[in-house]
Symmetry: C2
Subunit: 163 residues, 2 copies
DNA sequence: ACATGTTATATAACTTGTTATGTTATCGGA
DNA sequence: TCCGATAACATAACAAGTTATATAACATGT
């Protein structure tokens, strides 16, 4: 039952961060499914970027999110399919594609900002509170906390004001 | 030039951990390419698990690594293709597939354990030393440190004994 | 003005993770 | 003994990341 990534320490930190990130995304998804339409958790940063920064080119989105340009192109296509974003050619430079939220996209973001996003933020913040020791030990603590009480239960507990 | 994942704080922690993990894996890859044959950084935990725990079934590997069974099945197939691992049916239970290192695989692991893995471990440990403040700030520090000096240069600096 | 180089995005191919489901082997009870 | 349930692994389909390359628009120097 020993976890090799833990045992490998700093050597496997990359794999371990990726695994924990994916688990966190997956746990978060259970909460995000409450939205209509449901948006995969990895796409929420796209919505947040467009909400915070306004219409952006594909290249600007890639830089703001720290992912590659083809990654942005594909995810934007998904958001357009779902009717949450729209794209038009740049007025000055016709090579550019300027991505913005649709009315539905803005509404989804407003809904999320009002309730769901803050609740998730609070639950994850609680998850990360008072972590002990150096980074590897902190990661272990997060993994253990998630195993002992899943994120959606932490969020529910907080919403209901239960301590 | 602002980073949305940083700005989103705990809300996007999953995406941020995944992104940082992928970057770390990618940076590590530059060092791991020195091995012959080169093995993708995400497969090294498989090799380490087989080295530390001996022959394992697919299911045991999945548990030791914390990934899904189909993920293990596929990666094991890759290792077998490269001649680093081999699989035979379980002697008791013919449904099982028992995976072990080949001679080439053992040799690769021995080489890596002697030099490369410790150097990577040390470079990542240095990267994670004296991180300030709460988790989000620590992640920011790691990102900034990696941006200011890539991992392969940190490893080279350490090997050469330069301070 | 036009040839050439550069830039923005799209597309293709690949990797690695997932879930859902198919196959085959094992186990247990009638 | 054999039938049904369970368990281990394989396979298929999808998601999201990557790199390499194609396409089209822009910019520039002569």
């Amino acid at each position: 039952m020993d976890d090799i990534l833990r045992a490998l320490g700093h050597l496997a930190l990359g794999s371990r961060l990726k695994r924990l990130g994916e688990q966190l995304q997956s746990d978060t998804q259970a909460l995000l499914d409450a939205l209509d339409p449901a948006v995969p958790s990895g796409q929420h940063p796209f919505l947040a970027a467009l909400d915070r920064l306004g219409p952006l080119t594909v290249g600007d989105l890639a830089q703001a999110l720290g992912v590659s340009q083809p990654g942005v192109t594909r995810t934007v296509a998904r958001l357009v399919e779902r009717g949450l974003a729209e794209a038009k050619p740049g007025p000055e430079d016709q090579r550019q594609k300027i991505v913005s939220l649709t009315a539905a996209g803005r509404q989804l973001v407003e809904t999320a900002k009002g309730d769901l996003w803050p609740r998730i933020d609070a639950a994850v913040a609680e998850l990360c509170r008072d972590l002990p020791g150096p980074l590897l030990a902190q990661l272990t603590a997060i993994e253990d906390r998630l195993a002992s009480e899943p994120l959606h239960r932490r969020a529910a507990r907080q919403r209901d004001g239960i301590q």
